[in-house]
Symmetry: C2
Subunit: 343 residues, 2 copies
DNA sequence: AGAACGACTTGCATCGTTGTAAACCCTGCC
DNA sequence: GGCAGGGTTTACAACGATGCAAGTCGTTCT
């Protein structure tokens, strides 16, 4: 910067003023400085700027599993939003490891980031409760948590509506994949989805059958396939499969197809999240849809506002969802449903 | 750090020595410092460290489209590799925009990164040729380029082998999706894949039919669906579809299934890249497989070594590939093929 | 014409860390 | 007991950019 200043015949501070767009630089001076910058191909040093300003200009996104379609969709949206605001994005994978989640939440500065968008899996209430100086964090997904900002969809209502839909299509024995068996109760998302499902069964005077519920599989296609195989191996009869994510559903669809079980003629299948791929499966997947861009935008807005003012009270934003019916339940589309969370 | 030093009764430099693991700190002193660090919950400022050391400890990954399964797989691997080496990862999306690619290549420092792994689409030789001070960059994918490090697979041979496979399965009229029509010749990857395909046709004394080749679609599932629809709408007959990525193939599979065209009975379908999902389509997708982890590891190794020594000559690493045959061509698996590129 | 004013520019100090070189302290030896 | 020698620790300056307050200059007003 000193060099640029020398070439332009001004002081380093003036170069800084030009770069930061600060008011009060005469057009003639500005031009000279810009010419010098171009001539020397000068690039400001972000470490120095960060040191001085206390801001890195970087936010983090931490997701449990980067290989899933849902992660890909989210990170794409975050990156685009960030880019349009001149912010860089650091990406992290927590592998659903609570220690990693905690580390990120509690020590954002050590990661060179100003704030964090985190999709927690096992982050417990108590953990966040006991961190003294929380950095700006927005949690995405269902978390029982009221100290930090969060964006979520009403999983319980969505799951209720989905099971309702299955029942309306004639399902009576509904297999469930992803209920997070052994750890049920510890992870908010599967718990809520299971509760919604359960409530819908009850409302239809059906009773759940534990033998149709597989929880202890990762939320991936391979996990969905494994879960489906397990249910089939147990020899249970069922007329529908409610998978708690699209990936799980796709794994299940695959196994059903391999076994010659027809969807939707023999078995109905539903997912959750409406990733792009859900439109392209055979048959296309009935799922819970919500606007990923809105979701991320909400998270981003929460984060930016908190970066500007850390004293804001914790906020929660609920994104509306919709049951999108496609071929996998042999039905026709429904419209948007109101967000049932009252927010 | 000053505070930590005060608490521990040492100088800031000693705290720094403890943190950086520098030799020559007496165990007793080290313990006192560590206690002070823990007590104050001290976190070193990475901006300052970066300013002082000239290294940000961050690398960038830039991919054309973050929503694709392939991107997700790559970024996951990069993040894991980086994490194990204590490096953070910034993620960027180029949207295949040459200006963005150029900006990243030429001005890495402005993005707060030490080096870059870039999957270029349209970055032309000439662009890289004319940048004076290239930062450490590794290009992944086929690029006609010999000034910077790169990792690639032998697309041309792979495509040749794939078409050969289709022909061996009885295909005579092979539709091609992804040949990058209007821009053919500008983008290396589709060009190489097309050349391989063409050579295999020729070797089997078949002639290509331009009416079966769709190029002008994005390399996504939607693009694959559109391409497939276009070919069907034209009323052409064909007995196989060679898609240039798995995403394209999945779009094509979807459309074929919707039209009641059976795979592999009526039409064979192949993809390219072997993303996780390729195993879970119905039927599972025959595709070109290569080890994504090896691919990224090679890129990472090239990048680290260059970060340590910028004077290294440009290097190129070819990753072996394999035609993996699955249900979509009704065949049984083949073994690993040698990398045909001679590297 | 002189003073007051505003617009622009500058010098200086500072952010937190670490490389360098010099100071320190202890041990072992003559 | 004093000194060489090493292993530890320290003081200082520097990395590059920017906030602040003080400076410069050219106007405008009386």
């Amino acid at each position: 910067m000193k060099d640029v200043a020398a070439v332009a015949g001004v002081s380093p501070k003036t170069v800084s003023n030009v770069l930061t767009g600060a008011a009060g630089v005469r057009p003639a001076t500005r031009q000279r400085v810009e010419a010098a910058i171009a001539e020397l191909d000068f690039v400001p040093n972000l470490s120095a700027r960060g040191l001085r300003s206390g801001r890195a200009g970087v936010i983090g996104v931490a997701l449990p599993d980067l290989s899933t379609a849902f992660s890909a969709s989210l990170s794409q949206t975050v990156v685009r939003q960030a880019h349009s605001r001149g912010i860089a994005v650091q990406i992290e994978e927590t592998a659903a490891d609570p220690r990693r989640e905690f580390d990120l939440v509690s020590r954002a500065r050590a990661h060179h980031i100003d704030g964090l968008i985190l999709n927690p899996v096992s982050l417990e209430d108590s953990v966040v409760e006991h961190v003294e100086h929380l950095p700006p964090v927005v949690l995405i997904g269902e978390v029982e948590q009221h100290r930090v900002d969060r964006v979520f969809i009403d999983s319980e209502t969505a799951s209720y509506q989905m099971t309702e839909h299955l029942i309306s299509r004639g399902a009576r024995r509904i297999a469930v994949i992803g209920a997070s068996g052994s750890s049920r109760g510890r992870h908010a998302t599967p718990t809520l989805r299971y509760q919604g499902h359960h409530a819908a069964l009850k409302a239809a005077q059906l009773s759940p059958d534990p033998r149709l519920e597989v929880g202890d599989v990762p939320w991936t296609m391979a996990g969905g396939a494994r879960g489906m195989q397990r249910i089939l191996a147990a020899g249970e009869t069922f007329d529908a499969v409610a998978a708690f994510t699209d990936s799980l559903a796709m794994g299940a669809l695959h196994v059903l197809s391999q076994r010659g079980i027809r969807v939707p003629e023999d078995v109905l299948v539903t997912g959750f999240d409406d990733v792009e791929h859900a439109q392209f499966t055979n048959p296309p997947l009935t799922t819970i849809s919500f606007d990923h861009a809105d979701y991320v935008t909400a998270a981003f807005d929460l984060l930016s506002s908190r970066l500007d003012d850390r004293s804001l009270p914790p906020r929660a934003v609920c994104i509306p969802h919709q049951v999108v019916t496609r071929g996998s339940t042999g039905a026709t589309p429904t419209g948007w449903s109101a967000c049932g969370c009252g927010a």
